[in-house]
Symmetry: C2
Subunit: 299 residues, 2 copies
């Protein structure tokens, strides 16, 4: 039951849709049972490893439009979750895909979503091991992702007053340019964790203005930013760098004694910029005002 | 920022909503970092254990209505995923919650969802370790669930011709009665796996008529059912027992030499009924016709 170009979801049915969408999925030796059983069955990580667990969803009308190429939507859904694994310094391993789909959606659009998703999964060695489809009013794609790390995962809470603040890449103006095609900073995050060079880290999904205060709060610090140091995407303003969201760059706090080492040893073409520092969290000391980032329930 | 009765989602904002909804979540010693960081960080299962990984979603208008009590919806979302872990003979351990929410939803309704979910999680020792909220047109709640097992997980594919087919509990008429309040058969599934008494197993979510052919196909067998043996929910017809869906009982195949042992040793008040057998998958031998179960894209 694998028609080459099925004409509708109803023609495929639920039992036909899954094999149609998951063609080309194959797991490595950690996948003991993948799509098609009640659960995925996975070999547990070996001794000394820590599990990472994350979900992330994108919805039509919020994160993409009806005009967005389907493969880019599928790619983005997975890339966002990968970015969170990167922010822990981890390695992504297994993913499940939940697809909420309006009945009129064409099988070709769904196949496009899965194509983008499957390609990015393969690039990063992520096993796609199942998921589910359900009827809904709005197209929504949610990824549940497992990862692991041997190094201690880099939490948001490990920053200390006096730590330098760094960001990878450039910030701002990404809604139009980069939000569909960004590269999750898995190599960079993994390197920072392995060499114990980041004390606190997160990925910038809602913009520096929304995300930096979260890192500072988790670390019980305030912060100071040098606006003139912000690495702007070509054509972006400082306001855009603070508020645009969807940069998916890494923000991290590092011991200032490691400053020279970081700059010298950084092995990636990705830009690395020191943008400020964490400050003591004392009454009367307030952080640099940053304006607003993206809030799902206030726009 | 925890108002006792926040008046709207916009008043709470994204950074206020999460602490409001996740009050009362606390993890055991396997939770190294829970809600509030980029990922949940979890101690990996010990030696000899296998990981189970599952997602399941419910949407308003499909699995519940605007009139369904919110706590029952939250409970159901988690219970469905637990039922899949039960069908592997596993123990559920950690869950993430994805909530897609129309902007007009009251914080009280969301709090109700989380209350039902949190209570069931506590009953089964499941750690709620994070998740996310996003704007959407339709209320949708998706659970990503991790579990583990020491015994070999019971797949759908292990059945053999000649195996007895058994079901737990009663079947049918559950859309009106039981679909919100069913008990995931975790104890029963775990016992069957531990004692190696089930060769193939699944949970009945779409009705016996849809689900049994899936188990038989995975086991490369056909099947025969004794309709007069089906354990009917009070007031249910045979057609309802076959087609209603949402029974969330376990269906399993067992070696017929274990028949007496199973009946004698079964330690649960839950009813256990032999309903038929798996048959050789030869040309010309066809399975008992069962009619149709629930198909998400054909109703």
């Amino acid at each position: 039951m694998k028609p080459a170009r099925p004409s509708s979801l109803a023609a495929l049915g639920e039992d036909g849709l899954i094999p149609f969408l998951t063609r080309g999925w194959k797991g490595d030796r950690t996948v003991l049972a993948g799509a098609g059983d009640d659960c995925a069955v996975l070999r547990a990580p070996g001794r000394g490893k820590t599990l990472l667990f994350k979900t992330d969803a994108v919805a039509e009308g919020v994160h993409f439009t009806a005009a967005t190429p389907a493969a880019a939507v599928g790619r983005k859904a997975l890339a966002r979750a990968l970015s969170d694994i990167a922010a822990m310094g981890g390695v992504p391993t297994h993913a499940l895909v939940t697809l909420a789909v309006p009945p009129g959606t064409t099988p070709q659009r769904l196949a496009g979503l899965y194509r983008g998703l499957t390609r990015l999964a393969r690039e990063h060695g992520v096993n796609l091991v199942g998921g589910e489809t359900l009827r809904a009013k709005q197209l929504l794609l949610s990824i549940a992702l497992l990862g692991e790390t041997s190094a201690p995962p880099v939490l948001r809470s490990g920053g200390r007053p006096g730590d330098d603040l760094w960001v990878t890449g450039t910030l701002g103006a990404t809604r139009k340019r980069k939000h569909l095609a960004f590269t999750p900073r898995l190599a960079e995050g993994g390197w920072l964790a392995k060499h114990r060079l980041a004390r606190a880290m997160m990925d910038l999904s809602d913009g520096l203005a929304a995300d930096l205060p979260r890192l500072a709060a988790a670390s019980r610090t305030s912060f100071a930013i040098d606006f003139s140091a912000l690495p702007l995407t070509r054509g972006a303003t400082v306001a855009a760098a603070l508020g645009d969201g969807e940069d998916y760059e890494l923000l991290f706090a590092a011991d200032p004694r490691h400053r020279a080492r970081l700059e010298k040893a950084w092995p990636f073409p990705t830009r690395l910029t020191r943008i400020g520092l964490l400050c003591p969290n004392r009454r009367g000391v307030s952080s640099t005002p940053l304006g607003h980032g993206f809030d799902h329930f206030q726009r």
